[in-house]
């Protein structure tokens, strides 16, 4: 539906301007905030960057869930730093979205009232410490797959934000993998936690690439605009191909009886995730949707008096300074 809307708006734009815009993109030039851009391009980017920012912020919650239970001082510090990085990513992305004319507060309100989405993966719970490894390895791993190509995306501020984000994400992925490696060398219970995390996270991680290309509504125009660089299915296949040997090395079983190497294709064959579950989660029926939004809403509401007080203090300070300067002049 949204894609159709974009199309009908785009056709009303001046055709010459549109052609010139497309030519710049085809030539690999970056679009910057002050440049002319079709309304559809702006809207699609706001949606995509906003969703990405929200995913970072909501994504703090499942990992934040274990900060107070981290089992060593070093793990606690690592996890704190990781969740803090996510807040930082949220901040760069909200700033990138602001260059398109939408404020962070507006975007936050759209997240809270359900007009904007975040990645469905964060609607799954983190139930054991091994989930901190699995989230890093699989979830950040899938995120990197999605994000590395976006470093070359056509919108300058977004592309530049992604360069920094990707560096940190790949560090998180390695950290997650090492956490699991350590636990897999540990006790029977620790190995069980790891396999349990794998069983729960595998399909939700595959879903992170979005529905199959044939069912994806936003793809075609976004690819032409270089907002999206690869198709969902391409990225999903790349993720599976890279992850299977890593799982083997860890000694973890991937919960898919159809998983096998296909010589002819040069790729692994694998089972599709249950897309009806995916659409349920998107509609709000995931295991944690209600809790996640409630937690963000609570932080937003509880913080209102602090944000108001800080603005009020800044105004008072400015007024006092101005009054002081007037007095000095008099």
């Amino acid at each position: 539906m949204y894609a159709q809307m974009i199309k009908s708006e785009a056709t009303q734009e001046d055709t010459e301007k549109l052609a010139a815009f497309q030519a710049r993109i085809d030539a690999g030039q970056k679009i910057e905030p002050k440049d002319w851009m079709p309304e559809g391009y702006r809207k699609t980017l706001i949606r995509q960057i906003g969703q990405h920012a929200h995913s970072e912020i909501v994504g703090q919650l499942p990992e934040g869930n274990w900060i107070t239970r981290a089992p060593s001082l070093e793990r606690k510090a690592n996890l704190l730093a990781k969740v803090q990085d996510e807040a930082g990513h949220g901040l760069y992305l909200y700033c990138a979205a602001e260059t398109l004319g939408v404020s962070r507060d507006e975007l936050t309100e759209m997240l809270l009232d359900g007009r904007m989405k975040y990645s469905s993966i964060f609607n799954y719970p983190t139930l054991t410490w091994a989930d901190m490894g699995a989230v890093g390895w699989l979830v950040d791993g899938a995120a990197i797959m999605n994000q590395v190509p976006l470093q070359r995306t056509s919108y300058g501020p977004y592309a530049r934000a992604m360069v920094r984000i990707c560096k940190e994400e790949s560090f998180h992925q390695r950290q997650g993998y090492h956490l699991l490696m350590h636990m897999m060398k540990g006790t029977k219970e620790q190995r069980r936690m790891c396999q349990d995390a794998m069983n729960r996270m595998w399909y939700p991680a595959l879903m992170m690439f979005g529905p199959s290309d044939k069912d994806s509504v936003h793809s075609e125009q976004s690819m032409r605009w270089k907002i999206k660089m690869n198709t969902n299915d391409e990225l999903r296949q790349k993720f599976v191909d890279e992850t299977v040997p890593q799982a083997k090395y860890l000694g973890l079983e991937i919960p898919d009886e159809n998983l096998r190497w296909n010589d002819e294709r040069g790729h692994y064959d694998f089972s599709e995730p249950d897309w009806s579950e995916f659409f349920d989660v998107i509609k709000g029926n995931g295991p944690c949707n209600v809790d996640r939004i409630a937690a963000r809403q609570k932080a937003w509401d509880d913080g209102a008096w602090v944000r108001e007080a800080m603005l009020a203090h800044a105004d008072k300070k400015a007024a006092r300074r101005a009054a002081g300067e007037l007095k000095n002049v008099a």
């Binding site: 239970r69 704190l80 803090q84 901040l91 009020a312």
Partner: protein, 253 residues
């Protein structure tokens, strides 16, 4: 190395203060009133967890009982913790969290600066690293207390409530006991009471700008620094913090 119980106690007090406050601040991660606050608060928590690792590693080494910093953090019961009570009480709202942070920072900065002259090289070294961090913590917590005290009627009222709650806990930081006297005689550390003038100056100056009155009561709860009587809150914190280490004895993570 021969174990010096007073010195072990001294290191535990430094390490537990950093650990318990770091843990409390880490509870805010992802829940802050704005992204910038969230990030800054997590930074402070990270600094404190890092400091606690250094202090506790020395405590474990001097103790000589074959325990690690992690053993001390994750396998001691509440009565073996040596942090001041101020740091273990719950965060409540952002105002109380930041006022508590400020009270501690206002003590900690002159304290760590003084410890850089310690006759014990380990103390001087950890203090030198930590003092730089504490200077930033104090700058930020004082600014926040001023903004929230001065901001709106609502924020002022919340800061007054936080002040009422926290004030009876601040005195414990600056009361001397046998351990402190032993440390002072050995030149390891000054007496905590010697920090009082600096602490008063910082608090008075900040409160003036924050439009907050200084309470006239001098009553001070005690029992954290010597472990005699912690608050009920510490046990809950430890139950959560220690759950994995306690449930899986001998496992490493």
């Amino acid at each position: 190395m021969s174990s010096d119980p007073h010195l072990v106690e001294f290191f535990l007090r430094q390490g537990d203060n950093a650990l318990v406050l770091g843990h409390r601040l880490s509870e805010w991660c992802g829940m802050g009133p704005a992204l910038e606050e969230d990030i800054a608060l997590t930074n402070t928590a990270l600094d404190l967890i890092g400091q606690s690792k250094l202090w506790l590693a020395h405590a474990a080494e001097i103790e000589g009982a074959d325990r690690s910093a992690d053993d001390l953090a994750f396998l001691r019961d509440a009565y073996d913790f040596r942090n001041v009570l101020l740091l273990e009480v719950p965060n409540a709202d952002y105002g109380r969290t930041m006022l508590r942070e400020f009270f501690f920072d206002a003590f900690q900065l002159p304290w760590l600066k003084a410890l850089t002259d310690s006759t014990d090289d380990r103390v001087a070294e950890v203090a030198a690293k930590s003092a730089k961090e504490a200077a930033y913590h104090l700058e930020r917590s004082a600014e926040t207390v001023i903004a929230l005290g001065d901001g709106t009627d609502e924020s002022h009222a919340k800061m007054m409530a936080a002040l009422d709650y926290l004030w009876p806990y601040v005195g414990e930081m600056m009361v001397d006991d046998d351990v402190d006297h032993a440390m002072a005689e050995a030149g390891v550390a000054p007496l905590p009471s010697a920090m009082r003038p600096a602490w008063d100056d910082t608090v008075n100056a900040t409160f003036r700008e924050a439009q907050l009155p200084r309470p006239d009561t001098k009553f001070a709860h005690a029992g954290g620094r010597n472990g005699f009587r912690h608050t009920e809150h510490l046990g809950h914190m430890l139950a959560q913090m220690q759950v994995l280490q306690r449930s899986h004895p001998g496992a490493t993570w």
